[in-house]
């Protein structure tokens, strides 16, 4: 009772179960290697953090109807060795520095924002050593002002695998800094442009 369709079904079933088994093997060894190399407790250092405030009135900087909006830029030093994140199932690692802070008018509002990010595709460039790096994004808050808040900076990573689950983690080592008040000169400048 063998027919072409039966034969086809058998072969495709076999191929499917082999593919599932192979994928499971890859994912299992991937996680085992991450734990063995202590990938979830990597150290990093974020230092020399210098925040500065600019007042913007463009809608591309969060301003609504030309109302002044405080924007934050940060420069920082960053050192980390992310080599343990690279093994045979790592397609790329997305690294990002975030800043966490609390609301001022509404202290119950907790925020976290990305200051800088980068994509690393090979182990050779997994040593991060940046000095006086400027934040990639200009940050504005849901509130109009962002000055005089405490920022906590941290380096996070995310592995995109060739197959299987995405892996997230944060490095140990963080830095806290207070955002200074915006300077009055900037305020007058804004008034002049309005």
């Amino acid at each position: 009772m063998f027919s072409l369709s039966q034969r086809f079904q058998q072969t495709s079933n076999q191929a499917l179960s082999f593919a599932i088994f192979a994928a499971a093997f890859v994912v299992a060894t991937f996680w085992a290697q991450l734990y063995m190399e202590n990938a979830f407790h990597l150290s990093s250092s974020v230092s020399n953090v210098k925040p500065s405030i600019n007042v913007r009135t463009s809608r591309y900087y969060g301003s609504i109807n030309g109302k002044p909006k405080e924007n934050l830029k940060v420069s920082f030093d960053l050192n980390a060795d992310l080599a343990p994140l690279f093994n045979w199932n790592t397609k790329q690692v997305f690294v990002y520095v975030t800043a966490a802070y609390n609301g001022k008018l509404k202290p119950g509002v907790k925020s976290e924002v990305t200051l800088w990010d980068s994509i690393i595709t090979d182990k050779e460039s997994s040593q991060i050593s940046l000095s006086n790096m400027k934040s990639k994004y200009s940050i504005w808050d849901v509130e109009e002002k962002l000055s005089e808040r405490e920022l906590t900076l941290k380096l996070h990573w995310n592995i995109q695998p060739w197959i299987g689950s995405l892996v997230y983690g944060e490095t140990e080592g963080q830095s806290t800094v207070l955002i200074p008040q915006s300077q009055s000169t900037q305020k007058t400048k804004v008034k002049a442009t309005q």
Binding site: Q92, K110, Q160, L166, Y168
Partner: protein
């Protein structure tokens, strides 16, 4: 021509369709997302995700984190978008979370993609799910079928033929 056999065959076909539907809806309930498996259509998250990759979503998290890759829907557009969370603001009193997203391969944030006058996404309303798992390229079949008329007809013919020719 055996009527009983024909009817059994018909019943089996419906049984197969119904179980596929049940599997999909069951997965929807487990993940709390109306489309728990999606196929990437654009290159805005390259090199992480390419066109045709399959993504598995999970939507039982109360809040998204910065760095999460989320799938969201915009009012008035039927194609969901897969991008990364760039900023998040949680109001712990009301439980509402605002998100700003960006594609890894795009230069700017997603505000131009959002519905008119919207500058943030709402976690509860707009997010379809967070990407948890990934299978490369396999989803290309569905893109090929939905975008190529002949492929669609060929597939229909193949299903029809196999239904007619198969016995037991």
């Amino acid at each position: 021509m055996n009527l009983r056999l024909e009817l059994t065959r018909f019943l089996n076909l419906w049984f197969a369709l119904a179980s596929a539907f049940m599997f999909w809806k069951g997965l929807s309930i487990v993940t709390d997302s109306h489309s728990p498996i999606v196929v990437v259509l654009s290159g805005s998250m390259e090199p992480a995700f390419q066109r045709g990759d399959i993504l598995f979503l999970w939507n039982r998290n109360t809040y998204s984190k910065v760095g999460d890759i989320v799938v969201y829907e915009v009012d008035g557009k039927d194609i969901p978008i897969v991008h990364r969370v760039l900023r998040e603001h949680v109001d712990e009193r009301s439980g509402k979370q605002l998100l700003l997203t960006k594609g890894d391969n795009n230069a700017g944030n997603d505000i131009p993609l959002y519905a008119k006058r919207k500058v943030y996404l709402n976690k509860e309303k707009d997010i379809v799910g967070t990407v948890k798992g990934y299978i490369p390229q396999l989803g290309y079949v569905t893109i090929w079928i939905s975008e190529n008329r002949y492929a669609k007809m060929g597939l229909m013919a193949l299903i029809g033929l196999s239904a007619l020719l198969s016995n037991e």
